[in-house]
Symmetry: C2
Subunit: 427 residues, 2 copies
């Protein structure tokens, strides 16, 4: 039995000494590794280099509807880019507006617009005393940063294996008109890799919010970001489920090619009901004369359609899978049966979510940093950076090479063991 909690004080002290020696050795290597952000690695970026040759001065730069992509205009995006992004999200092009390079900006602007002008004619949020958002946790720090910036009170919602705790979501949303939204990453959630079940999606579509201007902020960031070919969960299309439920305006869906083509130079999209689109365009028509249509054209011509996207994502999976497997193998080898932590084994997305013993996450991250391995700040996966149990750590395997990931994960497991022992000894 290797459970740390079953070991005697003497055993723990002996183990500690041994592990500390290993830690000092690792430290002496002066590692400089970053597994903090969901950032594609160089080999992944290289996969998309063909996109750089898609348009040249010899190309026709007219969109399929005759729009000159070089000139002003085209608030909705060009038809072929709307089609491509619709296919990626599993919806129809008439639900889609294609924007610039970042879905994060679309989300920020959606909150900012609701704050300044309300939602489909509702009172602007800046005129209300209190606005609340539901935040499934652990979740994506940049979502929480947006709501925090606007002074929106964030309420933690526990995540289950099939999505957020829907009993709690339904109860809160239907009873409190100050609750205006919920952040969701429905597929390969950040950081756990959870995929919402059909029942979860349907319960979302059938919510009966107390607030007319409540919206589901459905960040479909990893719609096609599978790790395996033979085990690819699909989630229901939230937009048509909302239509069926008689709630067509209930959801804003976001997606981008940031982790398909280039993170800094992709295209992003919003999908929602015709009424919501009209509402959004009241802002867009003042804010821009149109987004970068040449980059939209570049993407549409390069990827062509969903099959093109899928074939491309296989190449990404081939780069990502070994890194995930290295992390998972080392976690298994080093920590299984120790009782010092649990972790997720995602089938896609960009993260592995690790839960340490209570009160250990911050110390583990700090100990890793001291030895040259940067992890996402402990707490970052919770609103206000506050993980009430101090357990969750997000591991992002994409940026380092497989060799670096192995080194980093070995150090990580060492730190987990050391901090856990310190906790057990302090009892």
């Amino acid at each position: 039995m290797n459970q740390y909690s079953q070991k005697s004080k003497e055993e723990l002290l002996a183990l500690k000494e041994e592990l500390e020696a290993q830690y000092e050795k690792k430290k002496a290597l002066n590692l400089q590794l970053d597994m903090s952000r969901g950032k594609p690695g160089t080999s992944q970026l290289n996969i998309s280099m063909g996109i750089m040759d898609t348009l040249s001065s010899d190309s026709s730069l007219l969109a399929s509807d005759g729009t000159d992509c070089r000139n002003y205009g085209g608030l909705d995006g060009i038809p072929e880019a709307r089609q491509l992004m619709a296919e990626m999200m599993g919806t129809l092009p008439e639900h889609v507006i294609v924007f610039g390079n970042a879905s994060l900006t679309i989300m920020y602007d959606a909150i900012s617009r609701s704050y300044t002008h309300g939602v489909l004619g509702s009172t602007p949020w800046c005129k209300l005393d209190q606005i609340k958002f539901l935040c499934p946790v652990p979740g994506y720090d940049r979502h929480f940063a947006i709501t925090e910036r606007f002074g929106i009170e964030m309420i933690n919602i526990p995540m289950n294996e099939d999505g957020p705790d829907m009993d709690l979501v339904e109860k809160l949303v239907s009873s409190d008109a100050a609750i205006k939204g919920i952040w969701c990453v429905p597929k390969y959630s950040n950081p756990q890799g959870v995929c919402y079940s059909d029942e979860t999606v349907r319960r979302f579509a059938n919510l009966k919010p107390a607030a007319d201007d409540f919206r589901i902020y459905w960040d479909n960031a990893y719609a096609i970001h599978h790790l395996y070919e033979d085990n690819q969960p699909e989630i229901l299309d939230i937009i048509s489920e909302c239509e069926k439920a008689g709630n067509p305006n209930l959801v804003y869906e976001f997606a981008s090619t940031s982790k398909v083509s280039f993170s800094g130079a992709g295209i992003a999209a919003l999908a929602t009901s015709p009424a919501n689109l009209e509402d959004v365009k009241k802002q867009l028509t003042i804010q821009t004369i149109g987004y970068d249509k040449l980059n939209q054209l570049r993407h549409a011509r390069f990827f062509k359609n969903l099959d093109g996207l899928k074939a491309h994502m296989k190449k990404h999976a081939n780069e990502m899978r070994p890194k995930f497997e290295i992390v998972l193998d080392i976690l298994e080898k080093e920590l299984a049966d120790t009782g010092t932590g649990t972790w997720t084994k995602p089938l896609g997305g960009y993260f592995i979510s690790f839960d340490s013993m209570e009160g250990c996450a911050k110390k583990i991250v700090e100990k890793c940093r001291e030895a040259g391995v940067v992890l996402t700040n402990a707490g970052a996966t919770f609103p206000y950076g506050n993980d009430p149990n101090d357990t969750n750590i997000r591991i992002a395997p994409s940026f380092p090479t497989p060799e670096e990931m192995a080194q980093a994960t070995e150090l990580f497991t060492l730190c987990v063991k050391l901090v856990s022992i310190e906790k057990l000894l302090a009892k």
Copy 2:
């Protein structure tokens, strides 16, 4: 003497009959011409096609500081793009952030941010009862649309030949803390083509606003958009003038390559003081992980520096100049000495500003439209679309071909004459 106001009723009636016959003939041509928007023509867009070949899969996609332009990051923009945009604006790269494809979006976001979060720590405008902006008129309709969207009261400021009426600007800005900004197009103003004199720029830099969060919104849209090689007015750098005056934070300057490279796919920039930049970045760091750095790199490599930009703008001038001259020649030939209107003769920019007899602009635009020539709506150059004298019409010669511009302007002068005669006869 050809002054219409000096003609007898009989003379006017005879002339009217003759002009109406000409108008019907023109109408029968079924023209479909648009001189409403400051939109580059196809021949101008063709000038920049080399930009499509600047980057390919063989190119290094690293910025000069080693940043991989394909990946996330780089909130300020890459160094070479900051340098390029700084040179275009006549300021230093440390004052510059490079954004996405539209300066309009930077301006909208600046107003929106002030509304939600204030300016450098001031009270957010949404918490104040009244916000006012000064609007030199005639001016740019899209500026006015932004302020109108946020419920900001707009106050007309007359334009003189050397810029806005600074006596009035100084008086209002120093006495009313509800006045938070003024929209300026300091060089080749939209629509008059006015260039602010050194004295005007210095008086701006030395304003003593009653409101701490007052800013000059300096839209330097036409900084390098000259029509002639031998007559190129230069304006003072507002940022260094503000520094000299001890008001470093007084101005936000905006510019873009929308009318240099491609209108839909250029790069845009903000230039301002370090303190203002930090304030803006508090938003940006939540709103985006960075703008499209590949397009920044493409622009920096293609244009290289200010000399490259200037050489490129000569080609634009060669396309634009004939169109402006055709309009001006026809206006001169048809309307000089008639007393039916006055117009500007700009040395750069995108517009000619025409002033009809009082109460005639709307009717002229309508009459042109009936015969297939679309002009900017009369009134559009004033806040709320309300030109108090109904005189101003903005002519945008860029999009049609020279032949089309000749046809459109001939029709325009015909409409000016007819509407003027109707007004004189109605007296």
